[in-house]
């Protein structure tokens, strides 16, 4: 198949082609160093502060009344990841140099900026929210949605109070139409054309391949290319010089990689499905999972990071892993055109070591949705409630059978060993048992015997033990009392 050697995207409405070594740059560096667009700031270079936030078009629209744009961290997005998208930076918001768009004006008037270093990032993250609410026909923003939209942006000066006030004064229905300017039909048409052709970039120090067919992925893997889905962790590793990978296999053009299927009791998602997309798809059917997704990672990360990427990255504290394990997740492993399925809990052989053979990659994942007889509870505990890497996380799936007995139990816990663990000792004790205080005590004891948490920057070993023990005990207590409540 014919391929391109140029990354193509629209930057503030201007068609942009990037060739050669500049493709190895992160978008933020490219903007600042190559395009003089220094409004985009870099602070942490790890997607944790939001100063680098820009807007990009979504790969596909989720419903007519949604925004065409989403916010991302440009500091950890390599230039080719923008391929086929339209990018808007803080410089692109106002109509001319000395004017302000409605978001900028609102933050300006409310004293929402002090030192100004985080401000462009806040403006961009807020612009995404405003555009979203504009498209859905709203004329105001609630404090809750403002906070949620700005969870991924750190400010050290204002205490956020003025930013919230400024944002609250915005009327989205009167905001400028970003779509008209930066995602017009003509732009969209051109970009669609771009996305149909594979991208292959080869330079002295950096190579990137982006096939369009899933069956071609294996070919590149065998050439030593490292697969990249959302790439949010990879971007951090590159910025912090923790990886020497210079051959990258980007999955951004792979057909049908964005597909989500929700059936009566199962969800199936493709390799490129982001956390934001998953959340939207399961919001009604699996609200517990949706609200669990709300407290992890920032909007910018969730707009970029893929669920499969989180799984494949295999961190012992990866936040989606215990949740999916408890929901009986099965990963789809592909090599060439061949596919096989594997239980997620069998994917991890050791610290970040996956049960994949040469040429194999994870092309999707499926998991179960609870029915009325099932309770699923999630744990995420971290130093700061929101947007923080967990000290421990976990998920418990309990199906109630006849006679108040538990017919099925799955418990997965992260942050307590080299991989996320299914805790068989606990599951066995729960299976077929009736909940009681005694059972709870013995289950918690079994849990403690099954885990070996470390002490590190996020907490001591004892802290992790106490948290996870308290959570399991409390969760079982809640289920027990609820069940009793139902009976009586």
């Amino acid at each position: 198949m014919k391929s391109r050697n140029t990354t193509t995207f629209f930057l503030n409405g201007e068609k942009t082609a990037v060739t050669g070594a500049d493709n190895s740059l992160m978008l933020a560096d490219y903007l600042r160093e190559r395009r003089g667009l220094v409004g985009t700031k870099i602070v942490c270079a790890e997607g944790d502060c939001g100063a680098c936030t820009v807007l990009v078009t979504k790969k596909s629209r989720d419903g007519k009344k949604s925004s065409a744009f989403q916010s991302i961290n440009s500091c950890i997005a390599r230039v080719p990841q923008l391929d086929g998208l339209s990018v808007v930076t803080v410089e692109g918001l106002s109509q001319e140099q000395h004017s302000q768009c409605s978001v900028q004006k609102a933050v300006y008037e409310a004293h929402g900026s002090q030192c100004g270093f985080c401000t462009p990032g806040f403006i961009m993250a807020l612009s995404e929210l405003v555009d979203r609410r504009k498209q859905s026909g709203h004329s105001n923003l609630s404090e809750k949605e403002i906070k949620n939209a700005l969870t991924g942006n750190l400010c050290r000066c204002t205490g956020y109070d003025a930013i919230i006030r400024g944002a609250s004064s915005i009327n989205p229905s009167q905001a400028e139409d970003l779509e008209k300017r930066y995602c017009s039909k003509q732009i969209e048409r051109e970009l669609q054309g771009v996305r149909k052709t594979p991208l292959v970039i080869e330079t002295e120090h950096f190579s990137l391949a982006a096939p369009t067919r899933a069956s071609e992925v294996t070919t590149w893997l065998k050439k030593g290319y490292r697969p990249l889905s959302g790439g949010t962790d990879f971007g951090v590793q590159v910025n912090k010089f923790k990886t020497d990978d210079t051959k990258v296999l980007s999955l951004h053009l792979v057909e049908k990689a964005d597909v989500i299927t929700v059936s009566s009791n199962r969800v199936s998602i493709g390799v490129r499905v982001t956390f934001a997309e998953l959340r939207r798809a399961i919001e009604k059917r699996f609200p517990e999972f949706a609200s669990y997704l709300d407290i992890f990672a920032s909007p910018q990360i969730k707009n970029t990071a893929s669920v499969v990427g989180n799984i494949a990255n295999g961190s012992p504290i990866g936040d989606s892993i215990p949740a999916l394990m408890a929901c009986d997740a099965i990963v789809v492993i592909q090599s060439g055109a061949k596919k096989r399925k594997l239980e997620l809990s069998k994917l991890y052989l050791g610290y970040r070591k996956l049960a994949l053979k040469r040429g194999e990659w994870i092309s999707g994942i499926e998991f179960q949705i609870p029915d009325k007889k099932t309770t699923v509870q999630f744990l995420k505990s971290s130093q700061r409630k929101d947007l923080d890497i967990s000290a421990v996380n976990g998920a418990l799936w309990i199906e109630r059978g006849a006679g108040g007995k538990i017919s099925k139990a799955r418990l997965a816990v992260g942050g307590v060993g080299a991989t996320v663990l299914r805790i068989a000792a606990v599951e066995e004790k729960l299976q077929g048992a009736k909940l009681s205080a005694d059972l709870r005590a013995s289950v918690v004891e079994a849990l403690q015997k099954s885990i070996t948490p470390l002490s590190d920057v996020r907490g001591t070993s004892a802290f992790r033990r106490v948290i996870v023990g308290n959570w399991l005990n409390e969760t079982l207590k809640k289920i027990e009392f609820e069940a009793r409540g139902v009976r009586s």
Binding site: L93, Y108, C115, N153, L154, L387
Partner: protein
Amino acid sequence: MKPHDSAHLHVTGQSEFVDDRPASQNEVFVTVVFSRIAKGRIKKLDVSPVKTDPDFIAFYTAADLHSNRWGTIFQDQPVLAEGTVEFAGEPIALLVTRDRRSGERLRKKIILQIEPLPAIRSVREAIAARSFIGSAREIKRNFDENVFAQAPECIAGHLVIEGADHFYLESQAALAYPIEDGQIEIHSSSQHPTEVQHVVAHALGLPDSAVTTVVKRMGGGFGGKESQAAPIATFAALAAHKLNRPARLILTKDDDMIMTGKRNPFEIDYRVAFDREGRILGLDAKLHSDGGAYADLSTSIMERAMLHSDNAYFIPHMRVQGQVCRTNYHPHTAFRGFGGPKGVAMIERIIEEIAHRLGIDALDIRRKNLYSDQGGRNVTHYGQVVENNQLSICLERAAEASNYERRRQEIQASNQRAIENGENTLRGLSMTLVKFGISFTTRFLNQGNAFVICHRDGTFQVSTGATEMGQGVNARIAQLLAEEFSLPRDQFRMMPTRTDKNANTSPTAASSGTDLNGAAALLAARKLKYRLSEFASKLLELPESRYPSNTAGLGTEAEILISAAPNYTDPNEKPESFGVVFEKGMVYLKRDPQKQIHFASLVNQAYLSRISLSDYAHYRIPGIEFNKLTGQGRAFLYFTQGAAVSEVRIDRLTGEAKVERVDVWMDLGRPIHEGLDLGQVSGAFVQGMGWVTTEKLFYSKDGLLLSHSPSTYKIPNIQDTPRTFNLNLVPNDENYANVRGTKAVGEPPLLLALSVWTAIQDALKQLPRYRDHYPRISIPATQERILRTVDPDAFKQIEGSAFNEFVV
């Protein structure tokens, strides 16, 4: 009132920070090679693996410096380590490369071997080894052991306060340009351009006059760029000077956090004597701080901690001792509050403990001990009279507006229910106060200068020694001048701070930026105004046909002559006006308001009459007399005061704390710009909240900071802000001491966040296990610490003998 003078640029991304300056031709990038262990002997530093790389340009060590010592108070710190390293993060060498990515790439290949030596890694270890910086200090008043022996009640305690990172969003940055004839111009992200200039000149062996520092703005400072910007700038300057090429140095957030000093950790031992009503009789406090490896500003920070150990409370018999310890950590430094928060944390904790011991609400204990104009209870332990005391007003306003009494009852009832029913949520409520002394305690720093230029169209350029880090000092100074001339504020452009315009300046620190530089700017403006007034009084007598604009070119009219402007020293003194009124852009004689002239026209006429339109002024704060040896005197020009009531909710199963509601009442005198002031209050409060809750510095066994990025170091995010956050100002027109009756605001509200910490302890003390003793929790009260305090038995069971109630 118009927002911050850069706000329109901030929101559109047009504000220029150091790293936003375009790359020059030939520019190089400087990467710092630093130690990763706390103490050791440098055995090998081999750059040969990178020397042949095409991106490599140069490599510098201490041997390349003309002088290798710097330090604001004691010159005890090498610019680049020589022979031994004293902290993890200590700069050893500079790698100069083509760009920033090659710098990081090549740094990894440099061979650096350091033989470890035993390091001092805590205050305790330093005390045992008698490893100190500076001598022990003592401030006391009527101290008497008998007070403790005879007191009805006594409590002794220990308080551990950990450090915190500034986490300014813009990391340390410098860009040095070599200029003809051996000069250097440095664009630095610095609160102290003069120190940058002096340290660079000294290190490079240049006269001060060959070095110019320029500070346009900082992306946050908070004290972290007061002293510690200087070595960073020196690194860039060294490369620029040696190579004769522009040199850029932008630390990554990780390197910045590892290399630069933090808020000083403190360990405090206290003994308090009090009567059964809760009146404090005596206090004996011993403060030890962790200064890190070098002195930096730690001795001054200790002094401020000692001067704030009374906070809002009169303590008849008091002794406070302080000693800075030398350890093997990054040299700790200024951070908003500058020691004040530590002294205040101690006394606010003591108040809470007294309340708990006596079963009296802590608010009543506070009321009883407040500084008061009655009964001789208005003199501090260092002998300064608390004038214009607003403490009681702040306390009562905060108590009333927050419904303290009613909520106290509600919370008590809800906690009671929670304990009885085994529910997991406990609530806590607490008020703390602040009385923050405004002035540098080092007298000579209390001076400022300003340069005011008026152009012929009536617009101004104003230069002062103040640096803008977001606090709005420029907008405030412009506002002062705009009011003086009755002109719109945007007619006054605040220029970048440059040492070739304003020399010998003090750091923009101690909340004093507007006080010092605003006063200086006002004094300069008044000289100009005096001349313009005298000139206007004569000009307006003439028919327009005889105005200089119609005559000066031909020389047909005699010039209007005026006298020399007096040298004003008091910014609050109203100058002689010649009966001339400046009003809304117009100027006229009071007795003839009909005949008006535009300010811009007047200025042009003055120019044509050869009258100077530029002025310089110097300002020194009068009346500050603090003797550091006796620890007595008027240390401060005035006090900024306030009170805050915080309510928290803690989860007994997880240790999570959530701030539900905060009510702040501050006395800021007559604010120049209320919007900016409230921004300082909310920003400082939330920053303080981070310090007392989630911000935890975590070091490796080698003394290397591991929490060196926002993924591991957790400053408050938007979800952490109080659910209800009420900010209020107490009107106060009587602060005659300061320029225009205003009060400094930068630091004081940070201390009010201690109410969140005491509220957490207030919630914890509801637990039956704390009926007889107060649940002492260290700062920060992290989730883990809270959980440990809720259920120490669970932790003891797991950790056995390793369990320690203070240290996590």
